[in-house]
Amino acid sequence: MHIPDGYLSPRSAAALYVISAPLWALSLRSVRRNLRRRRVALLSLLSAFSFLVMMFNIPLPGGTTGHAAGGVLIAILVGPWAALMAVTLALAVQALFFGDGGVLALGANAFNIGFVMPFTGYLVFRLFRGAAGPGDRRFAIAAAAGGYAGINIAAFFVAVELGLQPLLHHLPDGTPFYAPFTFGVTIPAMVIPHLVIAGAAEAILTGGVAAFLGKYHPELFEKGSGAPR
């Protein structure tokens, strides 16, 4: 799901930086206002968690691999705005030190994995959660549903951004200039494996950790803990 450099046109990459920049500013503002002092260490821990989770590649149908990202779980614990910060920093380290995802594409990757995934997943979690509290079965199921939805919607956004490239940038004879495949290829290639396997991995991770922490450390989700209600 990490778009490397060269796949997006400089213009597309810049456009996604322009979209992500104000989101990063809002994330900083939200952390300043809502993240309590003792939760700074938790945000730091969760950011490292996201980095590590993305290293666990699992085989997907079609001979490719994918991984969970942890963004929805982080959103449930510290809120989606703080999750954007945590995941963006993990992506930045991946791009700068490990060549995983491009530096020019960081705006795009942060938008997809850091913004779209935690926010849509968190929304689904809130819709499913109802009045359930940490430790309730429904709480964990809602978390799993959020994880499943979040990673799939993010995969769809990646497919759209890649699929747009040959339509936006091609030679006069129609030869693609950057990422070569259009929606007919990118959407099934990204979405189907995520619907089947990677989404399940994210759901198990998100639901499992939410169930465990909800049962043994419900204080992490308490009112006033910094987690949004």
């Binding site: 060269g6 796949y7 900083l28 503002r29 950011s47 991984h67 945590a86 890649l162």
Partner: protein, 106 residues
């Protein structure tokens, strides 16, 4: 240390990361230029011109230079990069969150 158990869990995750490189193949749409040629039949001009981040990163694709002679070496390299990367990420996040909250790291 705050969230001590959490940090221990992360260390265990880091030690387990070699499991994450067993899966055959790479992610869809994250190919190097040869991979693009294999799948599209050609390398688009704009892609060829771009500097692929992979070639410049110090620990490209989570490997440590020199640690590539055996699967054991590779696994060790993966663990080293996992600890290094997670550590740097944690420090970045700590610094940014502190700065956001206080306008300074101290």
């Amino acid at each position: 240390m705050k969230y001590r158990t959490g940090w221990i869990v992360l260390l265990i995750l880091a030690i387990l990361t070699p499991l994450g490189i067993i899966a055959a193949g790479g992610a869809w749409g994250e190919w190097d230029l040869d991979g693009v040629r294999d799948r599209a039949g050609f390398v688009p001009e704009g892609m060829r011109a771009s500097t692929d981040g992979r070639t410049e990163s110090p620990f490209k694709e989570y490997t440590v230079p020199g640690l590539d002679r055996s699967f054991f070496h590779e696994g060790l390299g993966t663990i080293i990069t996992a600890i290094l990367g997670a550590g740097i990420t944690a420090l970045f996040a700590f610094a940014v969150a502190r700065i956001a909250r206080h306008g300074g790291i101290s």
